[in-house]
């Protein structure tokens, strides 16, 4: 232990003292500027001429408590739909991206179809896909038409699959050609090379943007309520219509944010890990 002991020079002691003073100073500045901005915001909002009315119609605690059970049970539908749609869209995106990389003349129609799919569904507004599927398909009056909820979920999967396919494709193309050369020179077939060498690296690399799209999907899942199913937003709407008070929307909004936080946290963590790995950590 004595070997490791080190007596700092006077210069180092002066430097350390200076840095400590600087840290204290920084904390003080940050605290006072935050306090000033917060006070300003509170004064501006609560001092507004219509504040009392807005507070009554948007932030009524009694109505919030009353609406909570209905909104929560609606949110449970959002969660289930999110899990199914995210899984479906990720799978569809991966399949489409892989189909687009297939070579050889026999796969031309497959490639062309996959490409036109990504073009179409990235261009088409989600709301139109939703109406076409949930209103148009049942209108055909075919035997065994799935319920509206499934059709709405399908619209989400089709739309998000298009985006996710492009993210996956970017990942596949980011794997360096030398990795392919190494795999092929070991005698691996094209398919084995994709499966064991390219895709594992591609998926790892694009995990952050993929998760980011899942966070966006989490919000858009609420749009299926346009076709009838009662999700959190629709439940809030119903409660609002009964009480003539908008507080249930605020409740739904807060719940959506709470739902997104863990997903966003995971995204940030994965992004950070990927960045560390890239820098050779």
């Amino acid at each position: 232990m004595t070997l490791l002991e080190h007596t700092p020079s006077p210069a180092q002691l002066r430097r350390s003292a200076y840095r400590r003073r600087q840290t204290v100073y920084s904390v003080l500045v940050a605290a006072s500027s935050t306090a000033a901005l917060g006070t300003l915001l509170v004064v501006a909002v609560t001092g507004a001429p219509g504040w009392d009315r807005v507070r009554r119609s948007f932030l009524d605690p009694e109505i919030a408590v009353d609406a909570l059970p209905a909104v929560l049970s609606g949110l449970w539908l959002n969660v289930r739909l999110l899990v199914c749609c995210a899984a479906g869209a990720l799978l569809l995106g991966l399949v489409i991206a892989v189909l687009r990389t297939l070579r050889g003349p026999i796969f031309f129609p497959v490639r062309a179809l996959a490409a036109s799919y990504t073009y179409t569904f990235r261009g088409l507004p989600l709301i139109i896909v939703l109406y076409l599927l949930t209103l148009g398909v049942p209108g055909l009056r075919l035997q065994g038409t799935p319920p509206v909820l499934v059709l709405g979920g399908l619209a989400l999967v089709l739309t998000y699959g298009g985006y996710l396919a492009e993210v996956f494709r970017a990942g596949i193309e980011s794997v360096h050609p030398s990795q392919l050369a190494a795999a092929r020179s070991l005698g691996l077939t094209y398919r084995q090379t994709m499966r064991h060498v390219v895709l594992p690296q591609a998926v790892r690399r694009v995990a952050p943007p993929l998760l980011n799209d899942v966070v966006a999907l989490q919000k858009d899942v609420g749009l299926v309520s346009l076709a009838g199913p009662i999700d959190a937003v629709r439940a809030a709407q119903i409660a609002t219509a009964q009480s003539f008070n908008y507080t249930p929307y605020v409740v739904a909004g807060v719940l959506f944010v709470l739902l997104a936080i863990p997903l966003i946290a995971v995204t940030d963590w994965v992004t950070l890990r990927a960045a560390r790995r890239q820098s050779g950590g």
Binding site: A181, A182, R184, S185, L186, G187, L188, T189, P200
Partner: protein, 247 residues
């Protein structure tokens, strides 16, 4: 008998002739070193032999079979050839053991336990047994390149192609890779290696080929090609190498 016979190879990239009527014959258990300036066609020749590049003319025979015939399945040919690259090209998402066993398991359909036992034995032989479960980014350049050589060897190839395998290494790490290649020669492996290490070429090669502008300008025993070159272009190249202190 010739294991590899290249005749009249031609390859161009965007109007640039990289291989020009190139002939090369490699006998079994022979080690051939390709020397020459950057851009002389060494790497392209190796990539053509491994069917990673498409030829513009000429034929390549491996074990008497014309592998440049487009009807030949390239995957089947590559299973008989091991290739090692300048930049190692290990798979970063797989451990050392997984890198080595990937082809034996997926291509040659060996059982996992058998493939892993063979991989560990090969790793032990080159003193990397302790690194079996490490990932490539935890290894030094020399260790990565030795793993890349082991990975190629695990396929039991008939022929090894080594493309400037020490060029990306720090000088103090070159020796461990060269020692491994020397051991391979002692085991009787047939090898074609592109190299800038003239001293090593003289040491390990049975034959040295000097390439210039896509052709074999001079070939023969290393003492002759490196010691008493007959062609003016070979002499000029060697003079520059000696001036750079590399011979």
């Amino acid at each position: 008998m010739a294991l590899l016979r290249c005749r009249g190879l031609r390859k161009e990239f965007a109007g640039n002739i990289v291989l020009d009527r190139l002939d090369l014959t490699v006998a079994e258990h022979q080690v051939v070193a390709l020397i020459g300036a950057s851009g002389s066609g060494k790497s392209t020749l190796l990539r053509c032999v491994n069917l990673l590049e498409e030829l513009d003319d000429g034929t390549i025979e491996l074990d008497g079979e014309d592998i440049s015939d487009p009807r030949v399945d390239p995957d089947r040919v590559r299973r008989r050839i091991g290739m090692v690259f300048q930049a190692y090209n290990l798979f970063p998402h797989l451990s050392v053991l997984e890198n080595i066993t990937l082809a034996p398991r997926r291509v040659h359909r060996r059982a996992r336990a058998e493939a892993e036992a063979q991989a560990r034995e090969l790793l032990d032989r080159v003193g990397l047994g302790a690194k079996a479960d490490a990932y490539p980014d935890r290894l030094s350049g020399g260790q990565q390149q030795r793993v890349a050589i082991v990975r190629a060897l695990a396929n039991s190839p008939r022929l090894m192609l080594l493309d400037e395998v020490t060029s990306a290494l720090d000088p103090e790490l070159v020796g461990e890779v060269l020692a491994m290649i020397r051991d391979l020669k002692a085991d009787g492996m047939t090898m074609v290696l592109a190299t800038h290490e003239m001293g090593f070429a003289r040491d390990v090669a049975d034959e040295v080929c000097f390439l210039d502008a896509g052709r074999v300008v001079e070939s023969g025993p290393p003492e002759q090609v490196l010691g008493e070159p007959t062609q003016p272009r070979t002499r000029q190249f060697l003079r520059r190498i000696i001036e750079a202190g590399r011979l």
